[in-house]
Symmetry: C2
Amino acid sequence: MRRRTMLASGPALAAAALASPALAQGNPAIRWRLVTGYPRSIDVLFGVIDNFARAVSEATDGKFAIQTFAGGEIVPALQAVDAVANGTVEMAHTSSYYYLGKNPMYAPFTGLPFLMNARQHNAWLYFGGGNALADAFYATQGLVAFPAGNSGAQMGGWFRKEINGLADLQGLKFRVAGLVGSIYAKLGVVPQLIAPGDSYPALERGTIDAADWVGPHDDEKLGFVRVAPYYYYPGFMESSVVAHVFINKEHWDALPSAYKSIVRTAAMAANLEMVARYDAVNPPALRRLIGAGAKLRVFNPEIISACYRAANEVYAEIGTRSPEFTRVLAHMQAFRDEQMPWWQISEYAADGVNIGIRGRNRTP
Amino acid sequence: MRRRTMLASGPALAAAALASPALAQGNPAIRWRLVTGYPRSIDVLFGVIDNFARAVSEATDGKFAIQTFAGGEIVPALQAVDAVANGTVEMAHTSSYYYLGKNPMYAPFTGLPFLMNARQHNAWLYFGGGNALADAFYATQGLVAFPAGNSGAQMGGWFRKEINGLADLQGLKFRVAGLVGSIYAKLGVVPQLIAPGDSYPALERGTIDAADWVGPHDDEKLGFVRVAPYYYYPGFMESSVVAHVFINKEHWDALPSAYKSIVRTAAMAANLEMVARYDAVNPPALRRLIGAGAKLRVFNPEIISACYRAANEVYAEIGTRSPEFTRVLAHMQAFRDEQMPWWQISEYAADGVNIGIRGRNRTP
């Protein structure tokens, strides 16, 4: 059925009358530009998106070529999605939630604090109705989007001093972005919106007290361990952070069916690839950071509970402006509530065994 | 660079001299048969492999068509890989470890007890050297293989009576396959090799005392809850179970580069899709099973520790026949040992927060 639909519409129509080997002649040579929301130093994301572009090129014998650009090369990093929406470029790879200032609906498909982990998030997106909700919203923005990567659970940030309770958050100048910043602000934190590269000198001078970035692999390059050695876990407000491929909707609609299918499949592969890469590189980076003086600290449960209450306040406030956000949040929460009893007895319990076994197996 | 390499070699060479739109003419129309190691009732796996075949067809404008068959339709379920190796069919989708009787090296790439979870396993396969080790082994068998699915952590099985300690395992007739069966046998269990469909009557008559299958979604269809209601968790010996796509090596080598790339990418997407589907369908199935009378029980740590010691004995015995197995096992263990300190403070700790928050959030 899918095949018939394709043959009966658009540029493939002429090709349908020809013999099979000539069919693919209907597929045009296309060059697209893909801008990203990050510098090339974020090598895991760049590796993934370069592989994505290569997969599309290889699948089409080089006819569908996608050139990738770092943030700022042709479009400022935080305007990547705008550039796609207005047709300046055809594609972007970035985190949707950077754009929640335009519309809060840009946030939930990336992930929200206190919801799900990467696997649960994927289950919701692909098989729980999440992507269908995303498609409906992104269409209103002139966009088509596919999940194409996940960082997995991030870390909670680097702090110059230990944070033992809520009192230590009062007036704390913390480089932390987006919703997480808004949630911390309810507890007296003063969120600082500065570029990651400027965080190191700011921490060194004491202009800021703490900085949140991604996880061990990316954090290591910025050198935070030398100026703010208390490395807090878990990244309880960033347990799943999706990167999407965004495509200008008019350009997407004009693609041949084969190219659409190739992009969709390559994005799904990229989604797996990014989390697998992060899972491979974070453990040795954590080991090196500890060797370099990082002091691992776990967040006080009092802080986690206060953030949870603050998150619900922030969600309620957003809901007053965007009933659509409230509906999607409720949809995610219902899915999460069904997930957790299963997760607790399956993955979480099995992880506990494998973590514990390793401990028992260790040479003392 | 990759593109140049491709154009300069093999069947694409002639095409390189032609204009761009004609390039794909070099790609032949191909019909392949893919046999699986399971019945169509295992609908998650079938959904995934049908989507895999559709993705390959769509990407090639229908020129590369893959027809899928259930186990037994044209090849017996447990001979799917043999049929690929000897060229009877071109492709299979099944669990490699079913073939450990031929060679123990068929086991580790599927997953081994007390090693990793699905995400860690993917990190090892794609970015920790696992797939390279797999490629080298499967090539000796005339096969090319790609990971193309994962069940995630399975359950521990259905038992007619509670299992409170090691004494309860003595003489227990347990439908459990492969390595897990060999490990349990060291503790006095008598593994029973019967088809899943025959397990229900055997449990009802008391011919067997327990049966292990997959997880809630697949288990529910077999009705075990009515005859063996004690449902044990975690599936600590099956924390990650990969399904591979197997391809006859000669047929693979003859494929055009574009088709190879398409298959590789579609397999990676299938890998994500299968675990996302299981993650979506298992939670409601667990809820229904509990409603139908399933009594959830956690394995006694004494049993888990004894299984761990028994697993190491089994691994050592296999190693006397296959030094190659020992080398791959050591490679996996080293990767696992590096993974766990990171996993414990990131995903495991963040999961603990999200599981706990839900509890606190519940209406009493």
